[in-house]
């Protein structure tokens, strides 16, 4: 599985990562304006993983995701306006506003139901893989979940069953717990595991594994492509372990723009990097990392990058306005969609 992205493609990939970043930053602002009230989770710091894995998929493939789903949906090409509208509970949202941040899902892009229950999506992903295997074709399923999912028993049961049935599913464990505080530290509960290397878990069911640096979009893409090919060839499930540094803004229970709105100039001007989050800006932020890489490789110029950022910002601003202008579904329609 070799890959080589064209310059244009690399630029498009960076743009998608940036879109996710600006979307999430915009969402914090909308929350601060009380445009929605729900407990929510941001994809900042994990953009490279989601975008790369989705890049490795085809249109017929299916995707399962969790409470931290915004990035996956956008990576797959969802309209930021309809995604924001969903989070704001508007009727123009992808689920008519009924799903919100936890259940953001776009069936027409291959998503199955998004579950906010830790471990919930893994069993569902198995089912999608079972259906795809029974049907003709070579489609596969990618299941995105956090490291915390490996504390829920259903995840183990599901890996065992997938291995037994040789299901075409790529488990993408987004391990963002490096440096996380967890409940002990008063932060978001995450990773309380005795397992030293999380890939030992799938390995014990005979599932092939690969650990990648989740901040490096091209590395993730290469590994994801191998994993997807394995599943596509009907060789059974694969486990991709993408490790990222926990973003400071996702440490507390409620997200905060701890690192501010991303100053993209840090990609070309190292003098702007300082303060308590210097390591983040310099080494962990996947958007800045890829931007730096493309600048260094001459794929992009500084002014092009700035222009890209302006255009992304405009899209997000328009998306926010679209969401805010959209109507709420009426209380009277409460009982719609309980049953098909």
């Amino acid at each position: 599985m070799t890959h080589s992205w064209s310059a244009a493609h690399k630029t498009a990939v960076l743009e998608r990562m940036l879109l996710i970043r600006r979307f999430e930053e915009g969402l914090v602002r909308l929350f601060e304006q009380h445009a929605f009230m729900a407990h929510y989770h941001l994809y900042i710091g994990q953009e490279a993983t989601g975008v790369a894995v989705v890049e490795a998929l085809s249109a017929a493939d299916r995707i399962a995701t969790t409470h931290r789903c915004h990035g996956h949906v956008l990576a797959r090409g969802a309209d930021p306006g309809r995604a924001l509208a969903e989070i704001l509970g508007r009727s123009t949202g992808y689920c008519g506003g009924r799903g919100g941040t936890m259940h953001l899902s776009v069936p027409e892009l291959g998503f199955i139901a998004t579950s906010g229950i830790v471990g919930g999506c893994i069993g569902l992903a198995n089912g999608a893989a079972f259906a795809l295997k029974q049907a003709a074709g070579d489609a596969v399923v990618a299941a995105f979940f956090g490291d915390g999912s490996l504390e829920e028993g259903v995840s183990y049961e599901s890996m065992n069953f997938a291995a037994l049935l040789s299901l075409p599913v790529v488990y993408v464990c987004e391990n963002n717990s490096k440096g996380a505080l967890g409940s002990v530290g008063g932060g978001f509960p995450t990773s309380v595991s005795a397992v030293k290397d999380l890939t030992d878990i799938p390995r014990c069911f005979g599932i092939p594994v690969e650990t990648v640096d989740g901040r490096d979009v091209e590395q993730v893409f290469a590994a994801a492509s191998r994993a997807v090919a394995h599943a596509r060839q009907r060789k059974g499930p694969v486990f991709l372990h993408a490790v990222t540094e926990r973003w400071a803004g996702s440490q507390p229970l409620w997200p905060e723009l701890a690192t501010g709105e991303t100053d993209l100039a840090m990609a070309w001007d190292a003098s702007r990097i300082s303060g308590p989050h210097a390591a983040w800006y310099g080494q962990h932020d996947p958007v800045l990392l890829y931007a730096r890489q493309l600048l260094a490789a001459g794929v992009l110029r500084q002014d092009e990058l700035a222009a890209m950022d302006r255009s992304v910002a405009d899209r997000i601003a328009a998306a926010g306005q679209f969401a805010l202008d959209s109507p709420l579904p009426p209380a009277g329609a409460l009982l719609d969609h309980v049953f098909a």
Binding site: R98, H103, E108, A113, I117, G127, A129, A135, G153, N160
Partner: protein, 325 residues
């Protein structure tokens, strides 16, 4: 019509569905219970070996698998085992299955068929005697069918198979040997339509699943005393045929509900509450529930036998409402 037991009817309808839809799969262990009828399943195993799956003892995972497959248009008949074994899968059912269509704004369909066996068995004791249907009725988004005969089993499972919704078919674990006249042809019994098994002017007696037989026996006892009981079997809890219930109570003015779920927050409670709310003016007497007492099931036979509605208990309840008003 053929004489057929409940197990045979389940096999019959699964065969029809397996033949009709080449992707339809059946998953589970001991789908026809632990009794002698369990071997009737072998016919399916032979004909459809590649579409019969014996999952690991992982109820949460295989229930979720069946749900995920349904989201992609593949229907699975997933047998969870006894009511107690559905508890490890409770999150898959209540969190993942029930609300998925709703939370997606109607964009995701989830036509999975779940099946389980309920009821007091012989020596099931505290962990093998559950009748969890009331809990599932408290979870919106799942259709619930409770066949009370082989004929109903065939027709209701057929409807479950055709539904676009998640459905839960609950068989009584002691009913697989019960024989009935079953039409040979393919037929479906619509959900949400009660069956009146016996007409009677004096008291409306609602029963489901295995308790229907008990209720009919009670009705015979009472007929000998000159009390005419109308026995109604709702067949499905969700959707519930309120119309037939209220029409009957309008005729009789009296209601007894007999059911094997436990008393508190049980199926009988809901039916009683419905009528106390919307049919109060029709009532001449209290609504009596003959349900399972609020206790775990004892392994000891006399105590176990005392858990279930009997013709005597039902008859006593009917006499009580007849003496009233």
């Amino acid at each position: 019509m053929t004489r057929m037991n409940y197990a045979g009817a389940v096999v019959d309808v699964l065969r029809i569905c397996l033949r009709e839809d080449p992707r339809f799969a059946v998953m589970g262990n001991e789908i026809l219970g632990l009794g002698p009828e369990r071997v009737q399943f072998e016919a399916l195993q032979q004909e459809f070996a590649d579409r019969i799956f014996f999952p690991p003892c992982s109820e949460a995972a295989f229930t979720a698998l069946a749900a995920g497959a349904a989201m992609c248009g593949q229907r699975i008949f997933a047998h969870l085992g006894l009511g107690s074994f559905a508890y490890p899968a409770f999150s898959s059912i209540a969190n993942e299955i029930a609300g998925a269509h709703y939370a997606s704004g109607g964009t995701i369909k989830l036509p999975v068929v779940l099946h389980l066996c309920h009821g007091v068995l012989m020596g099931g004791a505290s962990q093998h005697s559950e009748s969890p249907q009331a809990m599932f009725w408290n979870i919106p988004g799942i259709e619930i069918a409770l066949p009370s005969s082989a004929r109903q089993a065939k027709g209701l499972i057929r409807t479950a198979f055709r539904s676009d919704n998640p459905t839960l078919v609950i068989s009584h674990g002691m009913m697989f040997g019960a024989e009935d006249d079953v039409p040979e042809e393919d037929y479906a019994i619509p959900f949400g339509v009660a069956e009146i098994l016996r007409e009677g002017r004096d008291v409306t007696l609602v029963a489901m699943s295995r308790t229907v037989g008990t209720a009919l026996t009670a009705a015979e006892l009472l007929a000998a005393e000159g009390i005419e009981v109308e026995v109604i079997d709702p067949r499905t809890l969700v959707p519930f045929d309120r119309r037939s219930l209220f029409d009957s109570v309008a005729r009789t003015g009296r209601l007894v509900v007999a059911d094997e779920t436990r008393l508190s927050c049980g199926v009988a409670s809901e039916i009683a509450a419905m009528v106390a709310e919307e049919g109060f003016d029709l009532l001449k007497a209290p609504i009596i529930r003959v349900a399972r007492p609020d206790a775990p099931v004892s392994a000891s036979p006399q105590q176990e036998a005392a858990m279930v509605p009997t013709p005597q208990k039902i008859a006593a309840a009917v006499r009580r409402v007849m003496g009233h008003g």
